[in-house]
């Protein structure tokens, strides 16, 4: 027991992990202040879940040290487990039990005692809008409801630090906004949130600090504003009716071409000035474009800007579609 609450929720130095020959984490350092939302941003396979698994005591690192809420991960994993809550990438609810029974199960495992268990369960069902579904088996829930139940189960033990591993992957936009509201409310209660995501927008909206993970190393860290300053910002996409048009456009304009879709991507900040400049350019060269769209910076732009290569996931996707 420390007299003063630790200032740092998580500190880690030099975390490494490999599975066989495959190096998943190659020296990760973290310093996350208590009471903040920290977001780990990266494509599939970057190692996000591995970091969550290590910090939540599911697996151990090959080397490196980490302290979670003041407790050493290797020395005192049970003290860490008492203070954390984890919502993994795949929903961790018991499908055969009802929502209410799932929460009571958690309450019993946290040894809350019968009365407190009932009260906490009722409270969480109310807060996560699950009262009507409380008596139904969790297997019958929609994706959004399962995720809400999952989060509610994570909160039963009143954790001081919550790991959310891609909490909105696979959710529809409305459920996604619901989860965001829940996360904001958690931090208002003084909880620290460690959030992993593939969506720049999500990290941008929620996080106090973002770290970008690429192939097992952190390539950038800072506030959302700091990171976005380092990203040139979005792109324009032109689509053409004929291959000839694409050909002449690609000669004049600096961009990456997609021959299959007859499209050209031109970097740009999405502002009116650069849009006007692009349109003038098209006029001058009398290039006919079918369609123009403006894209806000996404994870690919961040990766391109920070690492000089597109996100690994994107590469795979392209390779697969060939």
């Amino acid at each position: 027991m420390t007299l003063h609450p630790p200032q740092a929720a998580i500190t880690a130095t030099g975390l490494r992990k490999s599975f066989g020959d495959h190096v998943v984490l190659d020296g990760i350092d973290l310093d996350i202040p208590a009471g903040t939302i920290f977001s780990l941003l990266g494509p599939n396979g970057a190692g996000k879940s591995t970091i969550v698994k290590i910090l939540s005591t599911l697996i151990s690192a090959d080397s490196g040290q980490a302290r979670v809420l003041g407790h050493d991960l290797a020395q005192d994993p049970d003290a860490v487990r008492t203070a954390i809550g984890v919502t993994g990438q795949y929903s961790a609810v018991d499908g055969l039990l009802t929502g209410e029974e799932n929460l009571l199960l958690m309450a019993n495992l946290h040894r809350l005692g019968r009365r407190r268990a009932r009260r906490r369960t009722a409270e969480l069902l109310e807060r996560f809008d699950l009262v009507d579904a409380a008596k139904k088996a969790a297997a019958t829930y929609s994706g959004g409801m399962r995720r809400r139940l999952d989060l509610a189960m994570t909160l039963v033990g009143d954790p001081r630090l919550i790991f959310l591993d891609e909490p909105t992957t696979g959710l529809d936009p409305r459920s996604r906004r619901g989860v965001w509201e829940i996360i904001r409310a958690l931090v208002a209660d003084g909880v620290t949130v460690f959030l992993t995501t593939q969506y720049l927008e999500e990290a941008d909206r929620l996080a106090d600090r973002i770290a970008v993970l690429d192939r097992g190393t952190l390539v950038a860290e800072g506030t959302p504003a700091e990171l976005k300053r380092r990203v040139p910002g979005g792109h324009f996409r032109l689509r053409f009716a004929e291959a000839g048009d694409l050909e002449s456009a690609a000669r004049t304009l600096d961009g990456s071409r997609d021959d299959d879709a007859l499209a050209l991507q031109i970097p740009g900040d999405g502002g009116i000035e650069s849009l006007r400049a692009l349109l003038d350019r098209l006029d001058d060269e009398s290039i006919k474009a079918e369609e123009l769209s403006v894209h806000a910076p996404d994870l690919d732009d961040v990766f391109l800007a920070l690492t000089g290569h597109p996100s690994a996931d994107n590469n795979e996707r392209k390779a697969a579609s060939r």
């Binding site: 961790a92 055969l96 039990l97 495992l109």
Partner: protein, 225 residues
């Protein structure tokens, strides 16, 4: 002491979870009791006449054979319940909920003790169903209360051992399908012993195996009943 009471409390919670699963999914219990019942009916009514005659000479018949095979059928009941354990352990491992348990400050063994004690309860239910069917078919054991208790105790101990084995099989299985296939030999082991026919009717090599493999000795004491 503290950790012991925690382990007991967490195990009780997990047992509650298993029993609820059983209630929600009763078809599993029925399926596990169903297979031995099908074997029982098949052997008694299809093979029973001929086998009974072979067993006790011309005077023997279906009734004698029923009495002879009930212990073997009981072992198959226990083994098929163990198969159910492997399936449910493997299912648990593929679902996120066990990962959640592992990030919680609970006694880790409780997840498994929940399964084992749950299976014990499930097996006793299956054994009771199968015994009931055997009695309906005309199974008339001449065992006294002490022998019944001894038989029940022995079956429980065998169940306990087989269940831990199938928990291990469930844990090492990569998928639920594998988990359902791995314990299959346990179900068929009683056939390669004195469970269904006397071993002296078997060819020499098989007879050696049949006499020394663990499954028939555990069923033999029951034959007295």
């Amino acid at each position: 002491m503290n950790t012991l009471t925690h382990a007991a409390g967490d195990s009780a919670t997990m047992l509650g979870r298993q029993l609820r699963h059983m209630l929600r999914y009763p078809s599993m219990t029925l399926l596990l009791a169903g297979m031995p019942i099908v074997f029982l009916l098949l052997f008694v009514y299809v093979f029973g006449g001929a086998m009974g005659a072979g067993l006790a000479g011309a005077s023997g018949g279906r009734a004698e054979y029923l009495d002879y095979i009930v212990p073997g059928i009981m072992l198959i009941t226990v083994a098929s319940a163990a198969q159910g354990t492997a399936i449910s352990v493997a299912t648990d491992m593929t679902e996120g909920v066990v990962a959640r348990f592992r990030t919680m400050p609970i006694a880790r063994v409780s997840v498994l003790t929940g399964h084992v004690v749950g299976t014990l309860v499930q097996t006793l239910i299956s054994v009771a169903i199968v015994t009931g069917v055997a009695l309906l078919l005309g199974f008339r054991p001449d065992a006294g209360p002490v022998e019944w208790i001894a038989a029940a105790g022995l079956l429980s101990v065998v169940t306990f051992a087989l269940t831990w084995l199938s928990v291990a099989l469930g844990m090492v299985s990569e998928s639920v399908e594998t988990a359902s296939n791995l314990p299959m030999p346990l179900v068929f082991l009683p056939f390669l012993g004195s469970g269904f026919v006397p071993t002296d009717t078997m060819p020499t090599g098989l007879r050696w195996f049949a006499e020394y493999q663990p499954s028939p000795p555990s069923s033999r004491p029951c034959v007295g009943c």
